[in-house]
């Protein structure tokens, strides 16, 4: 499939340009001491990471999950809850985020994947709502008000250092891209994508698609949890507002805007959506009145998302 291995062409060029820009941001911030740039781009990058994760399940696996923001919340709350209990070690936070997510995503994915189509969408939504209400009522951990992190994940002298957070986030995103690129091209990815198109044929060929799908679902959940971990450290704040179905919806929008069939697409989608929001905000307070129709037009005329514009013909 040429969509994955473009050696030359616009896609490669634009992807390299975007990555170069992302690498340039901390350098710019270092010279101008403009930390806000790190916060702004960092937040978008974190959402990009989550969108990348969702894309594995949604774009390649065909699993439309309206509940992935829940995993972002889990990653963030791993930091928040441990921190409020006095446990600050950064590696502990990271490990907890990943392990808790796997422990929760695996059974949830298994239950959800017993259904398909709209039922799957709704069940993922239901689980997300359940967790949302649980966290809202947890008065011990801030409830609706959330937890303000007095101390961020402890990574020695790098604790709370915006540069360190941004750079490690960028490295994580690049790693994720590289891994996903290989996963999708591997036999695992092949079975996954085939199952999306026609599950029955895959079963007839002797491969049980369920373990592949659950694995893809769990991997995508873990990527979202990592995004939540970084967001918690970037903003120093954790609240149930991060796990509403509206946030899940935004993630889907990012994946779709970027174009589902590619690995890099979601990152483009995240930047497209959030930067356009920021830009439109500078122009007018009524920016949703411009963004809304823009999205509709993109859907109607750009069938494969923004990234699809660059597809090799």
């Amino acid at each position: 499939m040429s969509t994955l291995h473009t050696h030359a062409g616009w896609r490669h060029a634009l992807a390299s340009l975007l990555i170069a820009a992302l690498v340039a941001v901390p350098m710019y911030a270092w010279f101008t001491q403009d930390m806000y740039a790190l916060t702004l781009v960092g937040r978008i990058l974190a959402f990009g990471l989550a969108a990348l994760g969702l894309n594995l399940a949604l774009g390649f696996g065909g699993m439309v999950s309206l509940g992935h923001a829940m995993y972002m919340g889990l990653g963030a709350y791993a930091v928040g809850i441990l921190s409020s209990l006095g446990l600050h070690s950064g590696w502990l936070h990271l490990a907890t985020a990943v392990i808790v997510t796997v422990v929760i995503a695996a059974p949830l994915g298994w239950v959800a994947l017993r259904t398909q189509g709209i039922a799957f969408i709704m069940i993922t939504l239901a689980f997300a709502q359940l967790f949302y209400y649980v966290f809202v009522s947890l008065k011990a951990f801030g409830g609706d008000d959330g937890i303000s992190l007095q101390q961020l994940s402890d990574f020695g002298f790098l604790t709370g250092n915006k540069f360190a957070i941004y750079v490690s986030l960028l490295i994580t995103v690049l790693l994720a891209l590289w891994i996903l690129q290989h996963v999708v091209a591997s036999r695992f990815g092949l079975v996954l994508r085939a199952a999306k198109v026609n599950d029955r044929r895959v079963q007839a060929l002797g491969a049980r698609s369920l373990p592949y799908r659950i694995t893809a679902y769990v991997i995508s959940a873990v990527l979202c949890a990592l995004a939540g971990f970084f967001l918690a450290n970037l903003t120093g704040f954790v609240s149930p507002a991060m796990m509403t179905w509206a946030v899940s919806g935004e993630l889907i929008v990012m994946v779709l805007l970027g174009g589902m069939g590619s690995v890099f697409g979601p990152v483009v989608g995240a930047f497209a959506l959030l930067l356009t929001e920021e830009g439109l905000k500078l122009m007018t307070e009524r920016w949703p009145m411009i963004l809304g129709p823009l999205i509709v037009l993109i859907v109607i005329y750009l069938k494969r998302g923004l990234w699809g514009l660059l597809e090799e013909r």
């Binding site: 616009w10 403009d34 303000s148 500078l282 949703p288 923004l306």
Partner: protein, 391 residues
């Protein structure tokens, strides 16, 4: 291909705009942030309108200094609030940050504000931790500590001799805080305590349950849309005349226009009402109505006061905001004529003020508004100040 290049260029241009620095030309820069979109936007808008009225009164100057106000919308998203406050402090280098509608956003931005040693004048949210253990010498609030409104209603209920009050609130932090505040001052018996789902549309089941408990009064905390729903449904059940409804934030300037006569008779507790008699308040109400064509809510009054407070402080520092110590000292002095009458700060930056009880009634012009009923608590200090380590 042209489409994409154009799009890429636009994105790049927008990105550059987002990252570009803004130039400063005013003497004092103020960053104003509130919730200006979503269902609760009317609160944030009221706050902005009240604040700007205060700024524009003296021709865009406070304390003699020309003011530039940067207005931002936190969309009720705490992490967006953090991003905006970071921008205010690091990029725009504002002298004062003000506003903040909701407590969860307030708790999120408290940290970057404290880390950046920013001067903050809050004009709505007043969560308990910021009054207690996390109090900050640079934070000032011209509104109230979140529990105070419920406390005065609790005192009112005690004074009225109610023995069997049924309590209802939404199941989130603010709901529980308000119930706790009510119970702190209410010495009678509780007939029932029910927490409903946030944004629940239909209360008929809870209303039936409440009727079965036969209380002599009902206390609720239902802000915004929830308040409109609840009061409408109580009125339609014919119960509003029969069971006294005591409330907090349920019938205020933002919900009364949607309820009109439906809300007549409902009691609420807060620090200010549009029928106050002091000169500052009368001027404020008259100017506000003339400019915006509506009766100001308490949220507008709070923010108007914050502008007056900043004005008084800048007068003392000679229009300069660069000396933070002098600015905070001047703010702490609170030497201004507040629309609520007496105003002074407690050591934690929250006001010590009289709290009143209001009834929804028609004003002199026949419009449905709030009428002052009584003043059960004078010079009320919040209950969390004892946890504040500041002197």
């Amino acid at each position: 291909m042209q489409q994409l290049t154009l799009k890429a260029l636009c994105a790049a241009a927008i990105a550059t705009c987002a990252l570009a620095t803004t130039s400063a030309s005013a003497q004092v820069k103020i960053g104003f942030m509130s919730t200006l979109s979503g269902p609760a936007a009317s609160l944030g808008q009221d706050m902005y309108d009240g604040f700007m009225l205060g700024v524009e009164q003296s021709g865009g100057k406070l304390g003699g200094a020309t003011i530039e106000v940067l207005k931002e919308d936190d969309q009720l998203k705490p992490e967006l609030g953090v991003q905006i406050v970071s921008k205010f402090i690091e990029r725009d280098k504002v002298d004062i940050v003000t506003g903040v509608t909701f407590s969860n956003v307030m708790m999120a931005v408290a940290k970057p504000l404290a880390d950046g040693k920013a001067v903050f004048v809050g004009s709505n949210a007043g969560p308990a931790p910021l009054a207690g253990a996390q109090c900050n010498a640079n934070f000032f609030f011209t509104s109230w500590q979140n529990d105070m409104q419920a406390e005065v209603v609790g005192k009112y209920a005690t004074d009225k001799g109610y023995k069997n009050v049924y309590i209802m609130a939404p199941n989130y932090q603010s709901g529980k805080d308000n119930v706790a505040g009510f119970k702190r001052y209410f010495k009678g018996g509780v007939a029932g305590e029910v927490y409903t789902t946030v944004n629940q549309p239909d209360y008929s089941a809870e209303i039936a349950q409440m009727q079965a408990a036969k209380p002599d009064a009902l206390f609720v905390f239902y802000p915004g849309g929830m308040g409109v729903n609840f009061v409408k449904q109580m009125r339609q059940a014919g119960l509003l005349g029969q069971i006294p409804l005591l409330s907090v934030s349920t019938t205020d300037g933002s919900t009364i226009p949607a309820l009109k006569e439906t809300a007549l008779g409902v009691i609420s507790g807060t620090f200010w009402g549009p029928d106050f008699n002091n000169p500052a308040s009368k001027k404020f109400v008259a100017d506000f109505e003339k400019k915006y064509n509506r009766i100001p809510s308490q949220y507008a009054a709070q923010s108007y006061d914050s502008a007056l407070l900043i004005d008084s402080a800048l007068k003392k520092t000679g229009g300069k905001a660069s000396d933070k110590a002098a600015l905070t000292a001047a703010l702490r002095a609170a030497d201004f004529k507040s629309v609520r009458g007496n105003f002074r700060f407690n050591k934690n930056g929250f006001p010590i003020q009289d709290m009143h009880v209001f009834e929804v009634a028609k004003d002199a012009q026949g419009r449905v508004s709030l009428k002052t009923a009584s003043t059960p608590l004078k010079d009320l200090a919040d209950p969390y100040v004892k946890d504040c380590p500041l002197k």
